[in-house]
Subunit: 203 residues, 2 copies
DNA sequence: TTTTGTCTACCTACTAGTAGGAAGGCAAGG
DNA sequence: CCTTGCCTTCCTACTAGTAGGTAGACAAAA
């Protein structure tokens, strides 16, 4: 049985893991070429320029993310469980090192030198993630599950920053569990006291 | 009057701003050469390899940071004011774009592909910053200024992640004020209610 | 005189990207 | 059936430019 994934998907897969490891300038067509056993020129056939490659990659990532968040809504009606499930996803990724950093978060740190077509897509991801977190927090607050003093938009920004910062710390300290600690402690503070015992972070 | 800074300091200054903009792989000796009007070879005289250059740069940055935090202790005896002053520093840096990102935070995102001599220094910065934040939080808690449920070490990690994540968000959204919003909201939650009015974030 | 800093000139390895062609799938026309 | 032609995919071979790094000459300062 041949490998199912198309060549262009394999290229994006490899490129994604290389970007997550070292950013936009941290990989080359030659790296991808070596990883999947295809010539450099063949990669250019699928993605004429590096900027296009990464743009397509971010588009795919955004699409996967949005689909994931949507299916999360179908799976859990409870905003607290949605939030936990979101964090569990990253927890698992960071633990098994399959995707130990958000592609867009990493690219965001290099924002100033990204091609505009990439930068705008990264920005769009941040906007849509902020929107999603805001809606979950708002729903949770209305249902009396969450409690916070700020506007939901602000609280969402705080949470998003915590998650990205926790990824960074986990990487800096070379300690995946640190992500879990930080992220779970952060949402524990959101939960209403009487709800904290039932849905709070598991040990 | 000739420029006061030594050549090697000028090299480090330029390299730092280039790293902050695009990371380890985001700058070259040629970039520095062009920026300060010196030949590439002359830079190699001061810093034989790129890894050494960045190592020295991180050493200098760590030294400056530690000195800054020390002088901050001399200036303010109040832990809440120390914390505010720390955030004000970054606030100013990000607003005037002089140093719109922590060098070590940016390098941390590329940890996996940094030369070991650089990576270990970045890790050391994270450790010492965590230590400082822990001590400030602990002192503040003992004086009844702060309130939090976790151990001070954990709370320090949460705060550090928030600060770095806020830098990232400010960059991703291209909105310096976002850093201020997130960071100030985060420490506002630490402050004891009756203390919040006097030392809380200014409007 | 030795050291320090800078220079010109160069090196090898790698960068993104291009030119042009071979092999095969596929569909229309004979 | 077979041919023709298009399309996709991949290839070899190449380009111009940039990466980090080196060798050695020169001048000024210690």
């Amino acid at each position: 049985m041949k490998s199912m994934a198309s060549t262009s998907d394999k290229i994006l897969d490899v490129a994604q893991s290389l970007i997550v490891a070292g950013g936009y300038n941290g990989f080359s067509y030659a790296d991808i070429s070596a990883a999947i056993g295809i010539r450099k020129a063949s990669i250019h056939h699928h993605f004429p320029t590096k900027a296009e490659l990464v743009s397509m990659l971010v588009d795919r990532y955004r699409q996967q993310t949005e689909q994931g968040l949507k299916s999360l809504h179908q799976q859990f009606s409870n905003p607290a469980e949605q939030l936990h499930s979101y964090l569990n996803f990253w927890q698992a990724c960071i633990r098994d090192a399959s995707l130990p950093f958000c592609v867009c978060a990493l690219l965001a740190s290099e924002m100033q030198m990204l091609p505009e077509e990439v930068a705008s897509r990264v920005r769009a991801h941040f906007h849509s993630l902020a929107r999603w977190l805001t809606s979950v927090l708002q729903a949770g607050a209305e249902q009396g599950l969450f409690h916070f003093d700020n506007r939901p938009e602000e609280q969402a920004q705080m949470l998003m920053a915590s998650v990205h910062g926790a990824m960074l710390s986990a990487r800096a300290f070379d300690d995946p569990e640190l992500f879990v600690t930080i992220a779970n402690a952060q949402i524990a503070r959101l939960l209403e006291p009487d709800y904290r015992k039932t849905v709070g972070p598991r040990p």
